[in-house]
Symmetry: C2
DNA sequence: ATCATTTAGTTAGCATAGCTAACTATATTG
DNA sequence: CAATATAGTTAGCTATGCTAACTAAATGAT
């Protein structure tokens, strides 16, 4: 299962590359777009990455005009917000990934599709427990 | 599903880091250990990576004493073979991953476990079609 | 048989991404 | 007000991905 999951992800990333944005940047931006604005530390936690790493990922996204750093009441924190451009790019990427998966799933029988559906619902729970 | 798979992989990689070997090296070595010796180009294909990338990954593994480059009849090709040390390290890593997954799966009911099992068998087929 | 082409790998050079250690600036607390 | 804690950044290392350009070996065409 570990191996299959690894290769599934690798294939999907090939499509992601079309967005012209690195995988870590893409994943971080998706948290902002689909989960709303948050601080750098929160984003680092969500992405299971250290603050310096997230700091650089955010710098790249900012340079590309995909997010903005905004000041907060607490002078130490920043609020990271996806720009319109960032949001648009992400929705296009999601569309591509869904197309790839849909293509692969289309040739499966109804029974198999049902199994995939069941596991997709189960996975987040499993992940939380690891 | 894409998101859940991404985070599942990320969690498992945390355990993999304990091996003191990078994720790409670990994955390439696992192909040799569990799939047998092969050429650099074949390994690059299996890992969905370009030859120069695989060349450097292999160099790292060789430097660490985890695999050997052997000559073949065709003077251009090399045969990559995991060493005893490489094989041992990989089995220990597999053990750690299995422990992590087992821990997460242990709390599931029998029905859910059955679903996971069915999908684990289905995944490689899906991956091949993407 | 020789010269051109194809194939397998490597080297060089660039960008992204992960880390720790050390720093700055702002809040909080004693 | 001084000491400490918290949020981010900077610097510097390694690993991993790419393309372009190279070497060496095998194949093929005349």
């Amino acid at each position: 299962m570990h191996s299959a999951v690894l290769h599934l992800l690798r294939r999907l990333r090939v499509r992601d590359r079309e967005s012209g944005i690195g995988p870590a940047q893409l994943s971080a931006l998706s948290v902002l777009v689909f989960g709303g604005p948050r601080s750098l530390g929160e984003l680092a936690d969500a992405e299971q990455v250290r603050p310096p790493t997230m700091s650089r990922i955010v710098s790249g996204l900012e340079r590309a005009g995909l997010l903005k750093r905004e000041a907060t009441e607490d002078g130490r924190r920043v609020r990271l917000v996806a720009t319109t451009k960032g949001t648009k790019i992400l929705w296009e990427g999601r569309k591509r990934r869904v197309e790839s998966l849909a293509h692969a799933l289309a040739s499966l029988g109804e029974v198999e599709k049902g199994r995939v559906r069941e596991l997709a619902e189960l996975l987040p729970e499993i992940v939380r427990k690891i």
